[in-house]
């Protein structure tokens, strides 16, 4: 079945360092979404990417969708303690979004 894998599983960074998480799908995706889940919270939508090779930015966050639409990445520049949480990508299936395994980010002040 469809699977979305994310690496790394965990990332510990010093505040101010950059962070990247990668998402890889076993099948071509029509679109991909990214969510952030704070500790003890629920997933919150960040962005959706639709086009092959698409790049979108939100302040310090840069999202990229691969040319083959099978992978995606989220890059955070100069992390802050408010970036702490788990970042999930979610690929769109026919009647659902299926979530990747997530990357848990810890930022040390």
């Amino acid at each position: 079945g469809q699977q979305v894998m994310q690496i790394p599983q965990y990332q510990h960074v010093q505040e101010g360092e950059d962070f990247t998480t990668y998402c890889n799908s076993s099948t071509t995706l029509s679109n991909i979404q990214w969510y952030k889940q704070r500790p003890g919270g629920h997933p919150v939508f960040l962005i959706q990417l639709v086009k092959s090779g698409e790049v979108k930015k939100q302040k310090r966050l840069t999202f990229q969708f691969g040319e083959a639409k099978k992978n995606s990445s989220l890059h955070i520049t100069a992390t802050q303690t408010t970036d702490v949480g788990t970042y999930f990508c979610a690929g769109r299936g026919f009647n659902k979004f299926y979530f990747g395994s997530g990357t848990k980010l810890n930022v040390k002040p």
Binding site: S30, N31, Q33, Y35, Q37, G41, H42, P43, V44, F45, Q48, V50, F88, A90, R92, G93, F94, N95, K96, F97, Y98, F99, G100, S101, G102
Partner: protein
């Protein structure tokens, strides 16, 4: 911003008992979902619902699970005979368009089966 609300926030039940988890999706949304998350793990799809019927369900969503939209506002998940492995956080989500629209998640119901 409008919110998806879920009740209760915590539910403790004995193995074999029935539980009903309740959700009120955002009022103009038409697509509803249940996901679950075992502590520290990924968010797993259970079921999607549109136009008063199930659109898709996962292998987790077996005969012990059912969903219902009993009125114009509520969306429920019933587990008929709970098992220990059903212990998880259950999230309801809704969206206002099927094709590629963002999911709004509720705060979840933490289900503990003893």
């Amino acid at each position: 911003e409008p919110e998806v609300t879920q009740t209760p926030s915590h539910q403790v039940t004995q193995m074999g008992q029935e539980v009903i988890l309740r959700c009120v999706p955002i009022s103009n949304h038409l697509y509803f979902y249940w996901y679950r998350q075992i502590l520290g793990q990924k968010v797993e799809f259970l079921v999607s619902f549109y136009n008063n019927e199930i659109s898709e369900k996962s292998e987790i969503f077996d005969d012990q699970f059912s969903v219902e939209r009993p009125d114009g506002s509520n969306f429920t998940l019933k587990i008929r005979s709970t098992k220990l492995e059903d212990s998880a956080m259950y999230f309801c989500a809704s969206s206002d368009r099927f094709a590629g629209e963002k999911l709004f998640f509720g705060s979840g119901t933490q289900l503990s089966v003893l």
